[in-house]
């Protein structure tokens, strides 16, 4: 089986954000980078399927040259090769991103049986690139998948939306978007990292497009939190907490 996973390099933001002086981007001077958790699950699922059934796992990303770092990390857990669609570093809007991904997929000799995405990207959360790609390739798409079984060219997927669990079935080739919780992504091993250095990454330069959804600026959402009242240190503070639980009505 030939599988493709689409992923995106994103900063690993912790508990606060700093913006660049022009407020157009996150100041990443002190941040590391990774990919969104959903996409880590997608790569892990792809690696497991190739382990079981044989075949190849290709990674595809549109991003800055530095996104090679994210491809290498995911190659180290078992992907076969990577494709990096290089930008000048700026975010592309969802339509432009989807168009570039579709062009790259169509240029491949491999006709991927399964294309995996994250349910949404961690940073821009547009909720759409996968749907645009699926339409352009005339493939069915199942989203928000938390359990997936592939057998005899049929994908059985379970998605949990709200409190309802739904079971879907679709024939391959298909596009599936997965959520955190699908599996537990493995960490790259040292031999995996060494092998990954030699795995091929193809660089391409897609033509930029004028954005239809045009980012103007970012702002940090105001936090209305005032900070915690410290009840004390260690077990001595427990009686004070019991009083709080009474006041808020949790204890009678």
């Amino acid at each position: 089986m030939d599988i493709l996973v689409c992923l995106k390099r994103v900063p690993l933001a912790g508990s606060t954000f700093l913006l660049t002086p022009d407020s157009r981007d996150i100041n990443t001077d002190f941040l590391g980078f990774g990919i969104s958790p959903h996409e880590e699950n997608a790569v892990e699922a792809g690696v497991q399927l190739v382990e079981q059934m044989g075949g190849t796992l290709t990674l595809l990303t549109l991003g800055p040259t530095d996104a090679e770092e994210q491809l290498r990390t995911q190659l180290a857990i078992g992907a076969t090769r990577g494709i990096l669609l290089e930008t000048e570093g700026e975010d592309w809007d969802p339509q432009a991103t989807a168009a570039a991904l579709v062009e790259a997929i169509n240029a491949e000799e491999t006709k991927f049986d399964l294309i995996l995405f994250g349910a949404e990207s961690a940073d821009s959360a547009g909720y759409q690139i996968h749907i645009r790609v699926a339409h352009a390739l005339s493939r069915p798409i199942v989203t928000n998948v938390k359990t997936m079984k592939i057998e005899n060219g049929i994908a059985q997927c379970e998605r949990a939306v709200g409190s309802v669990r739904e079971l879907y079935e679709t024939t391959l080739p298909a596009v599936i978007t997965v959520r955190d919780g699908l599996n537990i992504p493995r960490y790259p091993s040292v031999p995996g990292r060494i092998q990954a250095r030699k795995k091929p990454i193809e660089h391409k330069k897609p033509e930029p497009r004028v954005p239809k959804l045009e980012k103007v600026s970012l702002s940090v959402s105001p936090s209305n939190s005032t900070g915690a009242q410290i009840l004390g240190t260690g077990v001595e503070a427990v009686p004070a907490l019991v009083d709080v639980l009474r006041t808020i009505g949790v204890l009678a």
């Binding site: 909720y127 645009r132 379970e158 239809k212 939190s225 009840l231 949790v250």
Partner: protein, 318 residues
Amino acid sequence: MILVLVDHDRGELDPLSLRALTAARKLSNDIHAVVIGNDGAALSAICGEYGASILHVAQHPEITDYTPAASGRALAQLANSLKPEAVLAAGSPRGNEQLAHLATILDLPMAAECSEITLGDPHSVVRARWAANLMEQALVHSGLLIATVLAFAVEAEASPVAITVSNVDVLLEPIDLRVRILGRGGEAAKSGASLTDAKVIVSGGRGVGGPEAFSLLEELAALLDGAVGCSRVVTSSGWRPHAEQVGQTGTKVAPDLYIAAGISGAMQHIAGCKNSKTIVVINTDPEAPILAYADYAIIGDLHKVLPALTQAIKATKG
């Protein structure tokens, strides 16, 4: 005119759609609602109550359950015939998904999770990024605006008008029905629901140290009729099932009491628990970021504080 997708699950309204109707009324006095599938026809009264003068019921013999691609096709057909200025839906996974199909079919941009919308040429929106920790000011270059409304940005407000129902037969393409629901239910729903329904959640993070010590959290949760939650570090270490994960990629909860033990307070975790009425932190680190979001804190080792708290509560219960 603004067309609002009113989402339902087999005739049961998604209440977030009422917020989308309310948001639409800020843009225009002329509001139409649309439901996908015959089951939705039952929602005409509530759509009228929230300001829609027409409910379009998009019907097709094969639309008997949630089929997002078919929804997109139905919405595209209605958008082409009714020529609204905007199509809105709730910023829920289903709302985002159905409008993404619509936007793709019409080859137009879509702005997901907007807290503010101003119609114009171009349209201007403020939309959530990073689980609403960052807001993006953006321009949407398209005639028809396709956007979803950030879940908690607008409170639903009634504004009753008389409503008429218009049935529309939808023409589908074969691909719209390639993905079908085979069944629904059960266990996953239950475990997720126990977190969203719980009045008390005792949540643990990396500081718990391993799966065994979660018994301390279980005992306290049971005593308070609550549920156990956790951070992503805990699920990705395999200590607890993913159904218990609170946060951006887990479950969003809003209990009366949220106890965060050994959790640092990454914004992706806060995104899932900040709507709790009271947040209590137990953490060894007086500088942990979660203190900024909490109401009360005990600085200390959860392995000592939790058993002491359990004992003290047992004592009060006699």
